[in-house]
């Protein structure tokens, strides 16, 4: 393994942002306007630098990733593992041993997520280019958030996982709450309370699992031979196990978010500033589904098999309900562009849950692939909204029209993103959704058919929005030079910074649409192993 | 003394204690509240002394000395505080002391 200063790549990729944050905090923000602008620039470039190095490391990780190793419940086939005793007390008079390890590593499930995190957080930095208000605070919170997200995807110790999971709550609260829109306070605290509500139950389950196996090591928790007989979680298929799984599932489902825990998402998205919406949709939502794959599924296979049908139904309801809500924006809502995309996220994440519930290779691979694709596509959609919001200072779909002639490049990019979201063949979204359908069809043919309606609904609202914004007549006020007092705004095409943020995503979407194996190969081994493991241990329980 | 059964003392002490407690809770005049507190503590003293006498154990009687000393200290401090408050507000009725609300 390659190390730098004695620390492996995963440690660097996780804690580099903290380093950046400390540097930013040490740079004074300046007294006069010139000094302020100077240090703002510095903060920006430090953030770009840090996230770029992260991106380079993650590409390096993926290139050196050994596709043969499955990981999941086998600590020996995890890659880039780093392990150190963090809090390691043995021979305590009362508790016996307390083992909390600094234990990180990746397998085929987390590798795509690590890559996604670095891509999205690097590109979202460019979407943050216009942040002027307390730039120091913004970028330090931003970097702290990145550490939290990355930590969740690499942690292999439940305690460590939980610390990272909670670590990103506070920066997110401030990022929405300080730099957000009109109703930011409400959205920020709603996000905070919802996620905390979910995670405290995770805490209890974590403690119960600790009592069962005597350590916080995730692999121990997946090894049912290690469960102590006195633990309430002993015995496959017992009621406590079902309850514990349900508690975990709710914690993760809030994050996904699955209907009926989704109500924080539209508020958070609408109020958050563009880059934070991008991160929220691009990475944070995946933490929920990732948590299910990494923790809920392999630790409670019996409960997964028991609840399989219900999980699928939750996924299905999310798909249809999210799409209906998005469509309803035209009829009932304020026709808010961001809200539309927020609801489409609920719908798209529903595919992930459905695919995971199907317990087939296709469905599961499709689900993880969909996580990645949704991350890139929705990140792009939010950036697109941000571009137009920066110019027009409105997100109402009715305010636009006929922009196709005015902003041709923008129109082109947006069309690709929208078609990606609809699932047009040739773009990445198609592959993952198709795989989810295939997988679901094997297990729940009827659900697959109903989920198909989600695609149709999705196509209708996406095309509707596209038509609203780009075609038709250009309203008066978009024609003249920028003049906020008379509500006349300039409609320049995308500038360089925005292109830097958007074009890489276009390339990824098209490339993965043509060559999906680049990503599928990364995860297929792990996914197969996971399914096999869950099915096997789950069935043992049902005998 | 020995002709009167223990129960009588304890009953008297209980009655005194109840009177004292009710006085603290019901009365509004701070001075009377403190008098009620003294009645409570005296009921405790009575109980201790009767138990000590009845059981033939001196430690209860020792306790009484401490209770008496503490009661004196308590009312000294209480009266000082009432005085300080009276200078500000010209009242000794506890329900008129209401800057801080629940």
């Amino acid at each position: 393994m390659f190390t730098f200063l004695g620390l492996g790549p995963l440690t660097w990729i996780t804690f580099l942002p903290i380093l950046g944050m400390i540097i930013i905090l040490l740079i004074p923000s300046g007294e006069d306007d010139l000094a302020k602008a100077k240090s703002q620039n510095l903060y920006r470039w430090i953030t770009v630098g840090v996230t770029f190095i992260q991106l380079v490391i993650s590409i390096f990780l993926v290139l050196n990733f050994n596709l043969k190793f499955a990981g999941v419940n086998d600590p020996n086939s995890m890659q880039f593992v780093e392990r150190a005793n963090w809090i390691y007390l043995s021979g305590l008079p009362l508790l016996g041993n307390l083992k909390i390890q600094y234990f990180i590593g990746i397998d085929g499930i987390s590798a795509p997520m690590v890559l996604l995190t670095t891509i999205v957080s690097f590109l979202a930095t460019f979407a943050s280019w216009n942040i002027k208000k307390s730039a120091k605070g913004y970028f330090s919170m931003y970097l702290l958030l990145v550490t939290g997200m990355m930590g969740v995807f690499v942690a292999l110790d439940f305690f460590l996982f939980y610390v990272f999971w909670e670590l990103m709550l506070l920066p997110m609260y401030f990022l929405i709450g300080i730099w957000g829109g009109a109703n930011k306070e409400y959205a920020a605290i709603k996000f905070f309370l919802y996620t905390l509500f979910g995670s405290v139950f995770m805490l209890l389950v974590m403690i119960a699992l600790y009592f069962a196996v005597g350590s916080f090591n995730m692999f121990d928790m997946m090894d049912f031979a290690k469960y102590s007989h006195s633990s309430i979680l002993y015995g496959m298929g017992s009621n406590w196990r079902l309850i514990a799984f349900a508690a975990l599932f709710v914690g993760f489902a809030i994050k996904v978010p699955s209907v009926p825990f989704h109500t924080w998402l539209p508020d958070a998205h609408v109020e958050a500033p563009t880059p934070i919406s991008v991160i929220l949709a691009g990475v944070l939502l995946k933490m929920g589904t990732y948590g299910m794959l990494r923790i809920a599924w392999p630790m409670f296979p019996d409960a997964v098999m028991y609840f399989q049908n219900w999980i699928a139904v939750i996924g299905l309801v999310s798909i249809v309900y999210g799409a209906l809500c998005a469509l309803g924006q035209f009829k009932f809502g304020k026709r808010d562009f961001k809200k539309l995309i927020a609801y489409s996220s609920v719908s798209h994440m529903g595919y992930v849950v459905l695919g995971m519930a199907s317990m087939t290779t296709e469905g599961m691979v499709g689900a993880i692939f969909q996580m990645f694709n949704h991350g890139t596509i929705t990140a792009m959609l939010f950036m697109i909204v941000g571009v137009i919001y920066d110019r027009a200072h409105t997100r109402g779909l009715d305010d636009f029209g006929g922009l196709a002639n005015k902003m041709p490049v923008y129109t082109g990019i947006m069309t690709i993103a929208f078609f990606g979201a609809i699932g047009l063949p040739g773009l990445s979204g198609f592959v993952s959704e198709a795989m989810v359908f295939l997988g679901t069809f094997k297990t729940y043919p009827i659900y697959a058919m109903i989920a198909g309606s989600g695609i149709i609904l999705g196509a209708s609202y996406m095309l509707w929005a596209l038509q609203k914004v780009f075609f038709g007549k250009l309203p008066e006020r978009w024609s003249g030079p920028w003049d906020p007092t008379h509500k006349i705004y300039k409609t320049d095409d995308v500038n360089l910074v925005e292109k830097v943020a958007l074009v890489p995503l276009v390339i990824i979407i098209i490339y993965l649409g043509i060559n999906p194996n680049a990503m599928i190969g990364l995860m297929s081994n792990s996914v197969n192993h996971l399914i096999e493991f869950v099915k096997l241990s789950g069935q043992v329980a049902h005998l | 003394m020995n002709n009167i059964p223990l129960e009588y003392y304890i009953a008297l002490s209980g009655i005194l204690f109840t009177i004292g407690t009710l006085g603290v809770i019901l009365r509004r005049n701070a001075i009377i509240v403190f008098m009620s507190l003294e009645i409570m503590l005296n009921s405790v003293n009575l109980a201790f002394i009767s138990f000590a006498r009845y059981l033939g154990d001196t430690s209860g009687e020792i306790f009484v000395f401490f209770v008496m000393a503490v009661a004196a200290a308590e009312s000294a401090i209480g009266l000082a505080i009432i005085l300080a408050l009276f200078r500000k507000k010209q009242t000794i009725y506890v329900d008129e002391v209401n800057v801080l609300k629940h």
């Binding site: 007390l89 709450g177 306070e185 | 154990d57 306790f63 209770v67 209480g78 408050l85 506890v94």
Partner: protein
């Protein structure tokens, strides 16, 4: 000859272990005398008290690991009490240091000598309380603690809310201690002894009336519950906390509460909960009288009432007062299980709670020095006017909420561990739900500081920070809050070793 001789021998043997308390008394006297002699230097009593308490700390470190009964069983020295004594010492020293920079206290050219000597007096009371194993010492030390607290709560006596707080405190306090001492008399009447261990023996012997023991225990619980400010004995808390000088508020919320818990745990563990395996008939009768249920109900009530009432507080001091009630509820959860793991988690929690709660109150005090208010609405925009203090405050609040990576999380984590260890799942669920609720009102403080801002042209919009010395204290507390969130092994080890004498 023999009785006097053996008594003297015992006395001589005990005095050595009693040295920390003696040092405190000496400090107390010297502080008062020097304050009288050197009228010109205002803070002489403060400096003497701080130095005296530090010396006490060194003397106390000689008692580490020692388990001994002193003065014919009036008090004991054991790791458990030593742990709490260190906690009291550190808290008192910190409070004294904080008081040095407290503007309200030094207003009107007030004499502060008694203020610091009273703090020393409280420390003495708490030291005794942590060691007390006899009803007389328990009562006396509670009274020493209370009497000094009454005075300190009203120390800034020309401020009306302070005198009012003091009056309420003294009435409620005397009432509850009166009830407690009546309970003690019942206990004494039933068992013929004032020694807690002998009371236990008497109960185990099976020749005692049960009724007075149970009623007496409940009445004593009132006295302890008052010190712990557990619902429903919490009435005084918000008023006193809001009215008292903020340093005293933070002191009461940490040290006095810890002292209450220290004696509560020892008393009930020794008296009613030992040993669980005993098959003596009478014992089962007492065990069937569900102490655990009572404490569990108290705990749930305490945290729920504390948290929910805190939701609509508009004054930061009052809000933190209710939050401290809620924290007493969390700690009571661990009392319910009464296992050694539970007691360990309580000790651990108190260390962390001391750091974060003192920190929060201290920053509130530094704010009050500058903006002259504790109202939540005056906190608007403080994040931009005084970023450093506001960030420190946020760290403490996050820790009080119990989010990683702060000490508060570790504390809660341990309490839940102890509770789940004994299978009280419902209690743990209520506990975690309560901490979600608590987030809402803690967030109100940092929402006002950061999410809202005042218009630039307001005359109150000056920027400020704190003087270097108080600021560095706040930094140290914040650093400790985060450090113990990431690495807590030494404290855990220490706490674990401090409860081993409980069987």
């Amino acid at each position: 000859m023999t009785i006097t001789q053996s008594y003297l021998n015992n006395l001589m043997a005990s005095v050595g272990y009693f040295a920390p308390e003696i040092a405190i008394v000496v400090t107390f006297i010297v502080a008062i005398l020097f304050d009288l002699m050197f009228k010109k230097s205002k803070n002489i009593a403060a400096y003497i008290s701080i130095i005296g308490l530090i010396i006490t700390g060194f003397i106390l470190s000689g008692n580490i690991g020692i388990s001994k009964s002193l003065f014919d069983g009036l008090i004991v020295v054991d790791p458990y009490s030593t742990f709490f004594k260190f906690l009291f010492l550190i808290t008192t020293i910190l409070i004294m240091v904080m008081s040095l920079s407290y503007k309200e206290l030094y207003d009107n050219n007030r004499k502060v000598g008694e203020y610091y000597s009273m703090l020393v007096g409280i420390t003495f009371g708490m030291f005794l309380l942590a060691s007390a194993v006899n009803l007389i010492t328990i009562y006396l030390s509670i009274e020493i603690l209370s009497l000094s607290s009454y005075v300190l709560a009203g120390y800034t006596k020309e401020i009306r809310r302070a005198s009012e707080a003091s009056l309420k405190y003294v009435i409620y306090g005397s009432l509850s201690s009166g009830i407690m001492v009546y309970g003690m008399s019942l206990l004494y009447g039933a068992t013929m002894t004032l020694d807690v261990a002998k009371i236990n023996v008497a109960i185990l012997s099976g020749h005692v009336e049960l009724f007075p023991i149970i009623i007496g225990g409940l009445m004593i619980l009132v006295g302890f519950g008052y010190k712990m400010s557990a619902v429903p004995f919490h009435y005084w808390t918000p008023d006193v906390y809001e009215g008292a000088p903020i340093t005293i508020t933070s002191y009461l919320s940490v040290a006095s509460k810890a002292a209450g818990f220290a004696v509560f745990i020892r008393f009930f563990k020794d008296l009613y909960l030992l040993p669980a395996t005993s098959d003596i008939n009478i014992w089962n009768t007492i065990s069937n009288f569900h102490w655990q249920t009572i404490v569990a109900v108290l705990s749930v009530l305490t945290m729920t009432v504390g948290n929910f009432v805190a939701l609509w507080q508009e004054n930061v001091k009052r809000l933190l007062a209710y939050s401290s009630i809620a924290h007493a509820g969390y700690i009571l959860m661990a009392v319910v299980v009464m296992t050694n793991v539970g007691i360990t988690s309580i000790l651990l929690y108190f260390v962390f709670y001391m750091i974060m709660n003192l920190g929060a109150f201290f920053v509130a005090q530094l704010f009050a020095n500058k903006i002259g208010s504790d109202d939540l609405k005056d906190y608007i925009g403080l994040g931009y006017r005084s970023p450093v203090l506001a960030v420190l405050m946020t760290v403490f609040l996050i820790s009080l909420t119990g989010l990683p990576p702060t000490a508060g999380f570790i504390g809660k984590f341990y309490i839940f561990t102890a509770v789940l260890d004994k299978g009280f799942v419902w209690l743990a669920v209520i506990g975690v739900l309560n901490s979600v609720v608590s987030l809402f009102y803690y967030a109100k403080i940092f929402r006002n500081m950061f999410l809202r801002s005042v218009a630039d042209d307001t005359k109150n919009n000056f920027k400020f920070s704190a003087p270097a010395f108080p600021l560095s204290i706040a930094y140290v507390l914040a650093f400790a809050t985060i450090l113990f969130g990431l690495y807590f092994s030494p404290i855990l080890n220490w706490a674990e070793n401090s409860v081993t004498m409980f069987k």
